[in-house]
Every structure is written in C-alpha cells, then in structure tokens.
Amino acid sequence: MMAQENLNDTSSASAAATPRKLKVATVSLAGCFGCHMSFLDIDERILPLLELVEFDRSPITDIKHCGPCDIGLIEGGVCNAENVHVLREFRANCKVLIALGACAVNGGLPAQRNHLELADILQMVYRTGHGLAVGSAIPNDPELPLPLNQVHPVHEVVKIDYFLPGCPPSGDAIWAFLTQHIEGKDPALGHGLLHYD
C-alpha cells in the first residue's frame, strides 16, 4: 500500500511499490468540463499519479469507449439519452464510480430547468424565442440525443460509490480524494477542501 508521503513526493516517482497501474476513465456528461480542467489543476502531481494510474476512456486520451476500469470519474448530470448510455457504459465497466462536481452530485446548473416543462422550453428556444430565423424548428435529427424531461444527478440513474462535490472541486480536493481512495481509505475532505460552490 502506497503511503501518502510517497504520492506527494514528486522527485522520487518510484513505481516500485505499485505492481500494476489502476485504470481510470473519465467523462463529462451534462457538465461544462470545468471539473476536468480542475483535475488538471493538480499540476505536476499528475506525474506521480501517472505512476499509479493509466487512463482509459477520457477527454485526455480521446478513447471513445471504456473497457474494464478500476475507477470512473463522472462529471456532469444526466440531461439526455446519450448521457444515460454513457453513464451505463461506465457503471458496467468501472469497479468504482465517482460523481465529480456539483452537476454530477445534484444536477447543478442544468437542473435548474427542472421546474419547467421540457416541451415549453423546446418551444421557446427553437420556435417562439426572440431572434430566431423564419421557419426555425426543433431539431429532430436521429443523430442528436433527445433531452430528458428533467436533469438528474448521476446517483438517480445508476449506483454511485463516491461523491466529490464542488463547482468545480479544487485540484487539491481532487488530489486528496483520489490519493486517499487509491490508498484504500474512505476519502474525507476537511474544511477548505469540501465545497459545494
């Protein structure tokens, strides 16, 4: 088991203690990629992390489907049919799913449409709103995923094992959470790292 000090020691990025790397997949559903950007804010700590993990499906690798993984990080809530398919792919393939950020945890900004009727929203956005071209219509291309009546946090669609809130969670919070988790601890974030905003 890696000790916390080893993980934080960027100079001696020794992989001697890790027999095999953990596979990690990440995705942004109905999110803004802000959580992914924040993930990159772990800065140079990505190097010791890469001694421990390798990335499967992720915007970082551009792999389109995930295979069996140890950890899946889900940014964003579930707002359309494609989000559902992707989330199921992650659930089926990842041993542990982590909801990353406010939108994955409680729907976030996109869920603030939930008290409105979806039909009314589509009507206004594509047909009756200001500044639309004549003959504007609601897109119906089968390539496009259909939106759900409401936006849901990921735990309302599949079982989620861990939650890391924040808009976005800071790089430090993500680092602390992941390293604790990889060490086999129940991740706990103290004051300053735990934020919902």
């Binding site: 406010a102 409680n106 008290h115 809130p165 919902y196």
Partner: protein, 249 residues
C-alpha cells in the same frame, strides 16, 4: 461544581433555566443547529441539535440543562443522523450552491460541510417554488427555504409586523407573506427589519449587495461553522457604496 453537566465528557456550567443549547453556546461549545438562534425562543423543528441524554434522544435547544446530565453531542451516531437530516433538507428544496449568493455565508451549507456531507443521497424533489422579486430592496428565493421560521419569529417578535408565516402542511409547507396578493412588495416589510437579517439560508436576500464579499472569502470559507458558532450574529450588512465598488472591482 453543582450547576454543570457533561457535554461529550466536558464539564459545561449552566444557570438554572438554561437549555443545553444555551449553556453550550455560552461555553463556546458547538451543537449543530439551524432553527435555533440565541435571540429567539427555541423552535425545535430542524432536529439538527438532536443529542443523546441518558441514552435518549432529545433536542438540545428545548431540553433544560440539569446538574450531572451526560449529554452526547458529536458522536458518529448523532452526526450520521444529522447528515441524513441535512440530506433530506437538501433534496426537499432546490439548493444549487454554485448559483446562490448566500454560498459561504449559509448555515445549511456550512453545517453540511461540518458533518462531511458529500452528497444529498436521496432522489431530489425539485419543487416548483417561484421567486418573489417584487420588493425594491429584498428578494425572496423560496427554493432554499428550510421552514425554520426564524423570519416568522423575527418579524413577529422584534419587528412587530408578522410579515411571514408558514402555510400548508407536510411537504406542501411553504413560506407566505402577509398580503392578499402574496407579494412582499405589498407588505410593510423593510430591508432594515430584523427579519431581513436572520435567514440562515439564501431565501431573504438584500438586493445589490449579494457579491460584496467574494466567494472564497466568506464567513464559512474562512472558518468552519463549529469554530464560528454563534459569534457571528447578526451579519453586518456592508454599505451599499462599498458593495458597488467591490462589485465593479
């Protein structure tokens, strides 16, 4: 000492008539709470201050302190219950912290941080609660109401106005104002009322000062609520001019 009780094993002095909560607060000890406020009579509705006295559950804000009492407060069992209560409050309303101007100054949020709540856990109710922006100086954002009735008590007991009341029953409970139109602008509410200061969450919001203090530099960003306790009351409203300058900057 005669008039003292044990709070998590620590001796807490009290004066006769004080509740466990009052005595703990006087001694600078934190018992989690949302509907309790030192200036008002106990309400006992949020149940966050549920403690164990002699093996029985009780609300610290309503039970009188008595000599020799052994009160359990920050045990894992009780904090787990509090975490569940917070989760229930979070899914009952619409609590979107990233877009709430009370974020960082919100007792609900800060208490959830204190309890290490990582997720609202339950399925969200996503209720439809329209906002009331009718008043020139104050916005009512009902989505965040936790039914603590602090504004009801402040308006009635301090302001002498009865601007607020809870209506409905069960999950249909909701805050109303004292006018036939249901609009705050049609009441005698003023932004200088005590009721304008007392909301622990982001329902009663003064207009034009929401981001006078930036996110990250707010009360509970700086210190956990267990350290802030009841020392921060009431929140000093920044001057309007300051606010504009800061917003512009």
């Amino acid at each position: 000492m005669n008039d003292s009780f044990l709070l998590d094993g620590e001796e807490i002095p009290f004066t006769p008539g004080q509740t466990v909560m009052q005595a703990a607060a006087s001694a600078g000890k934190y018992i989690p709470h949302l509907c309790w406020h030192p200036d008002f009579a106990a309400h006992g509705s949020c149940k966050l201050c549920t403690v164990k006295i002699g093996g029985r559950f009780a609300t610290a804000c309503t039970v009188r302190a008595s000599a020799g009492q052994e009160v359990e407060n920050r045990t894992e069992e009780l904090d787990a219950k509090r975490r569940t209560l917070l989760q229930l409050l979070f899914v009952e309303g619409n609590h979107f912290c990233p877009s709430c101007e009370k974020s960082g100054d919100c007792a609900l949020q800060a208490t959830a941080y204190e309890m290490g709540m990582l997720t609202p856990h339950f399925d969200h109710f996503y209720p439809d609660r329209p906002v009331d922006a009718s008043h020139p100086d104050v916005l009512l954002e009902f989505n965040r109401c936790i039914m603590c009735e602090l504004c009801v008590r402040a308006s009635r007991e301090v302001d002498g106005k009865d601007v607020f009341a809870l209506a409905g029953r069960g999950t249909k409970s909701h805050l109303i104002v004292n006018s036939e139109t249901g609009r705050l602008a049609d009441t005698d509410f003023a932004s200088t009322d005590r009721a304008a200061e007392v909301c622990p969450v982001g329902v009663i919001l003064k207009k034009r000062v929401g981001f006078a203090v930036p996110i990250g530099a707010r009360t509970y960003d700086l210190n956990p609520i267990s350290a802030v306790g009841t020392k921060r009351e009431p929140q000093a409203a920044p001057l309007a001019n300051d606010a504009h300058e800061k917003e512009a900057g």
